[in-house]
Symmetry: C2
Subunit: 321 residues, 2 copies
């Protein structure tokens, strides 16, 4: 709450502090949205699974700057988790999320922030099971962009993401929706579904927010031990070394990936490399070299020790221009 007090002292008397508005049902959200249209106000959407960190707050700030009002959805989406993944343990920190957004709203002065908190039954009116083979009802798939990289490791992930994003866009109908570049494949999948399904929303991708040591911010960083969290900066260091090699004139896949691998292997952290990839910026297909003018994406996933004595996946990427 210190942030709130500081800003309260700067701009407001305590009594004038605004509360963010919580909306928990789809009809209430639609009614609010309809009013915005009639009043000719623009709306930004920041879809989140909660456990908000500074990366999320940066998206919300950007949304507030570019739209009259902002909806932050907080919904841990079952359909993007596999049965063996961390749906039940995913961090849920609603009180602290609301405090952070309230502080931001008071800082923003003019924008209203709506926190949209639908239930699983709201978002999956026909129910949802994690076993894909047993799932019934409407799902959205983005073929050709969902099967590689993260989609190869997590086969149902992008089907779940595409489906929930479509639902949220259908409810909120924002002028703009905000995603972080950390999940670069997700941002490409979402851009494609918006284009193909003719949704009236512009997708904005904001640069990755990082810890002081360079580690990409992620709600799942909470799983890491203090030591692991410090040493996990190796992932960004390795990708940055790949970028430096590219800037120094190395354009072949092998040269760039070798450089990333070299840095990762120099770590004294117990790092398990899942993949390192050099991919086309549009098709996400692997490329053998970075063609002049086309650029590419270098991305990687590693697994590092967590608090439970197991491993946590962390991902990161850099876009080569």
């Amino acid at each position: 709450m210190s942030m709130l007090c500081r800003q309260g002292a700067r701009y407001f008397s305590t009594s004038s502090l605004r509360s963010v508005r919580l909306i928990k049902t789809v009809p209430e959200l639609r009614a609010w949205r309809r009013k915005q249209i009639v009043e000719n106000k623009t709306v930004g959407l920041v879809p989140t699974m909660g456990a908000l960190h500074q990366g999320h707050l940066n998206l919300v700030s950007q949304s507030c700057q570019e739209n009259d009002n902002c909806v932050v959805s907080v919904f841990v989406n079952p359909s993007q988790f596999a049965p063996h993944e961390d749906l039940n343990n995913y961090p849920r920190t609603l009180k602290s999320d609301i405090d952070k957004l309230e502080a931001l709203e008071n800082d923003m002065k003019s924008s209203e922030i709506i926190v949209f908190l639908p239930s699983v039954a709201d978002m999956y009116p026909s129910g949802i099971t994690l076993d894909v083979s047993q799932q019934r009802g409407a799902f959205v798939e983005v073929k050709g962009l969902s099967e590689q990289l993260e989609g190869f490791i997590r086969p149902q992930f992008f089907r779940g993401v595409a489906t929930i994003v479509t639902k949220l866009l259908n409810i909120v109908v924002p002028e703009r929706a905000y995603f972080g570049q950390k999940d670069v494949q997700q941002s490409i999948v979402v851009k494609r579904l918006v284009k193909d399904l003719l949704l009236p929303t512009e997708i904005k991708v904001a640069k990755t927010s990082r810890e002081p040591n360079g580690l990409a911010m992620s709600s799942r960083n909470e799983y890491l031990t203090t030591e692991s969290r410090e040493r996990a900066k190796i992932l960004f260091e390795a990708l940055s070394a790949g970028e430096a090699a590219y800037k120094a004139g190395k354009t072949s896949r092998q040269e760039i990936i070798d450089e990333i691998n070299r840095v990762l292997k120099s770590s004294d952290l117990l790092v398990e490399v899942e993949y390192i990839a050099l991919s086309d910026k549009v098709s996400l297909e692997e490329v053998d070299k970075v063609e002049n003018g086309l650029g590419a994406i270098i991305s990687a996933a590693i697994r590092v020790p967590n608090k439970d004595g197991g491993k946590t996946r962390i991902i990161d990427n850099i876009i080569l221009d």
Copy 2:
């Protein structure tokens, strides 16, 4: 045009006859729709592939009665055709379609009818091929309702339907959209996708419009020879016999289907039966008997001789209460 003149004589001087408004692009349709929202006017959507018959016009009439204004989309959707099907030969009769809608609009007096004529490139901005294995981009699937009956015979059909309906609903955002009961599985698939994807549209299913002889109206009836079109009434006669058997107390699948089969086989038309089914009204799963209070759907598909010397599929159904 006789209808137009008759109505012109009834209600209007020739000079006051209205023309339906044609909208050919997505941005223009969205701009028109936004104005409707600001003016608090409701909009109905009748999605069609053109070749309008009285069944379509009945849907448009109903839409005009229940909404301030009506959008009739005319779009022959490639993704619901298999490579061997009749995409290229599907009847395209735009001039006559517009004449019919113009006559109806003048009859309706107060409602405006918009004819929405998007191009394939508008609706599939990333392109579309008929070979499902080569398709890329965003598609909508309704799992559990798309694999049986028509979906068994036409494996990509409902994926194509669900995808195009989602796109049209995203563009038009109608309060209500109208479908015919003739395509009963389609209406159930669409209801489910609207529910699951949280689209803000009510789906209305209107009873099947029939020729004087009982044959369900369909744009593909144009393919039939005059003789075939007359004798194809056997399909509705057979389903009606199944309904009569049910009303007379026969509730088992075998009894009802036997009765339908008996009538079909009595025909002197060269009828090839594709399927006869007794299905649950919600899940579309086959049922062994009609449970009291649950009802069921009896449906069938047959192939009958057409003008080209080949066969044309015709389908029909009756809902048992």
